[in-house]
Structures are given as C-alpha cells and as structure tokens.
C-alpha cells in the first residue's frame, strides 16, 4: 500500500520589500535628474537673458502636446493596476499596451522636434549652436542633455512595460501577484514626473 504525500511549495513573497527596493532605485533617479536641475538653476541665474532668448528656439506647443501624451500614458498605467487588482487581466493587458504606444508617440514627437533642430545646425557642438552667445549655447546644451537622458528613460520604460505585457499574457502577473507591474508603473510615473519639471524649465522658459 502506498501513501500519496503532496507537498505544497512554500512561496515566500515580500511585497513591502519589493516596493521599498524599487523606491530606493527611484531615489537614485531623482538625485541624477536633481543634479541636472541644480546645474540648470545655477546657469539660469548666471545667464537669465540668454536662457530667455534661447527658450524662444523651442516650440512650446510640442512640449505641451508631449506633456498631455505622457500624462495620459500615466493614466493608462495607473488604470492597468486597478484592472489587474479587479481580475480584469485582458483589460490590464490592453492598458499596458496603450501605455507603450503613447510612449512611442512621445518619442516620435521628440524625433520630429530634434530633427528640425539638428537640420538647422542646432546640436551639441553644431555650427549654428557655436555661433550663439555662451548662455544660449548652454541652454540648448542642457536641453539636449536633459531631454535626451529623459528620452532614454522613456525607451527603458517601454522595454520594461513590454516585458510586463509578456508576463501578463503568460499569467505570471495576475490578480494575486502583481507587484512587478506596480514597480514597472512606479518607474513610468517617475519618468512622467521628470517631464513635468522639464516642461516649464525648457519649453515655457521664453
């Protein structure tokens, strides 16, 4: 006679720890961009008129459109968490997909904007940029550095969210275990917060 013993695997999950770990990483991101904001502020107080003049080089309409795109992507990201909490797996997947599409739309706008600048010789060490007064060159240099670094973060966020799409499809993220999606969302929202500060510093500086 044989007896059947079933072993239930004890899965240890630490949601609090996972979230605190993600936030600690986000603090390093805040300090990274915070340092650049401090650099911007230091040069803006030194060259207030040049920053004002160089700000007119930027089209604020594109800046505002991209703000609306990113805020909407943050909404779809937040809604996807609620959907997964309510067990609406398919809706959550669509919402994360929409977030990735909006991220791509943001980058398309950025591409159009940067292409026009580069076409006019306005890029770091570019011929037209070198002819500008030092303060204006600094403004545009900071613009390319900070929006470029932010753009890289948008790309990173889109990669992370694409991985989340796979995990949602494979049911590895679901109603009872969705901390990965929450942490991916935290990253995406921080990228949005950084843009919230970039809008007035660059596009509304004129």
């Amino acid at each position: 006679m044989s007896s059947t013993v079933t072993h239930e695997a004890a899965v240890h999950r630490d949601y609090g720890g996972a979230k605190i770990g993600m936030w600690l990483f986000l603090f390093t991101e805040i300090v990274l961009f915070g340092g650049l904001f401090i650099l911007y502020s230091a040069y803006r107080t030194k060259y207030p008129h040049e920053f004002h003049a160089a700000g007119q080089e930027l089209n604020y309409i594109i800046g505002v459109i991209n703000t609306v795109v990113l805020l909407t992507s943050s909404l779809s990201m937040a809604l996807s968490i609620t959907a997964v909490q309510k067990g609406r797996q398919r809706l959550a997947t669509w919402l994360v997909g929409l977030t990735v599409i909006l991220g791509a739309l943001f980058l398309v706008n950025k591409y159009v904007e940067w292409s026009a600048k580069i076409h006019h010789g306005l890029y770091p060490n570019g011929p037209e940029l070198l002819k500008l007064p030092p303060g204006e060159g600094l403004f545009l240099g900071l613009y390319f550095t900070m929006t470029g670094l932010h753009g890289l973060h948008v790309v990173a966020g889109m990669i992370v969210l694409s991985i989340m799409l796979v995990l949602l499809a494979k049911q590895r993220v679901h109603q009872d275990d969705y901390v990965k999606l929450e942490n991916a969302g935290l990253y995406w929202h921080l990228v949005d917060v950084i843009w919230i500060f970039l809008l007035p510093l660059f596009y509304l500086a004129a």
């Binding site: 899965v11 999950r13 949601y15 609090g16 979230k19 605190i20 936030w23 600690l24 603090f27 805040i30 300090v31 915070g34 904001f37 401090i38 502020s41 230091a42 107080t45 030194k46 604020y60 505002v64 703000t67 609306v68 805020l71 909407t72 943050s74 909404l75 990201m77 937040a78 809604l79 968490i81 609620t82 909490q85 309510k86 109603q175 009872d176 275990d177 969705y178 901390v179 929450e182 969302g185 935290l186 929202h189 921080l190 949005d192 917060v193 919230i196 500060f197 809008l199 007035p200 509304l204």
Partner: protein
C-alpha cells in the same frame, strides 16, 4: 499569499486626477504666455510641484503606503530641496 489586502483605487479617481493634471498644465501654459514674468515664475513654482505631488500621491499610490515609505520619499525629496536651497543661497550672496 496574495496581494488582495492592497487598496484598490477606483478608475474614476485616476481619471479625475488625470483631468486635474491636464487642467493644471493648461493653466501653467497660459500663465507663462499671458502673465508678467514674475507672476508666471510664481505659477511655475506653485503648479509644477503640485502636479508632481498629484502623480506621487495618487498614480504612484503613495497615499495608501505605510508611514515608513512615505517618510523615506519625504526624506529623499527634502534632501534635494535643501541642496537646491543651498545653491540659491550661494548664488544670491556672490
């Protein structure tokens, strides 16, 4: 063990916060284009952190987190504000 104990924020709450964020963005844009420079700077200093705060508090779920996490976020942001304050102290007394 599941995550079922976590607070579920309604769809309506998130959509409302999004609406407020869009309204604040429009206000900020109009203020910077229509008002005198000093006034638009004040609008920026008030509206931008308010928008960031709404994203932190609702979208990033901070409203429903434990005091430890709230304290950590506050400490990190306060440190950055102190450094920005120190910068302005430095440049204003040069």
């Amino acid at each position: 063990m599941s995550q079922e104990h976590e607070h579920v924020v309604s769809y309506a709450t998130f959509v409302t916060v999004w609406g407020v964020l869009l309204t604040l963005t429009m206000l900020l844009t109009f203020a910077s284009k229509l008002f005198h420079e000093a006034l638009s700077v004040w609008a920026m200093l008030f509206i931008t952190p308010l928008k960031a705060g709404l994203v932190f508090y609702y979208f990033m779920h901070l409203k429903f987190e434990a005091p430890l996490l709230k304290g950590m976020v506050f400490t990190a942001l306060a440190t950055l504000v102190v450094f920005i304050g120190m910068l302005f102290l430095d440049v204003s007394f040069r």
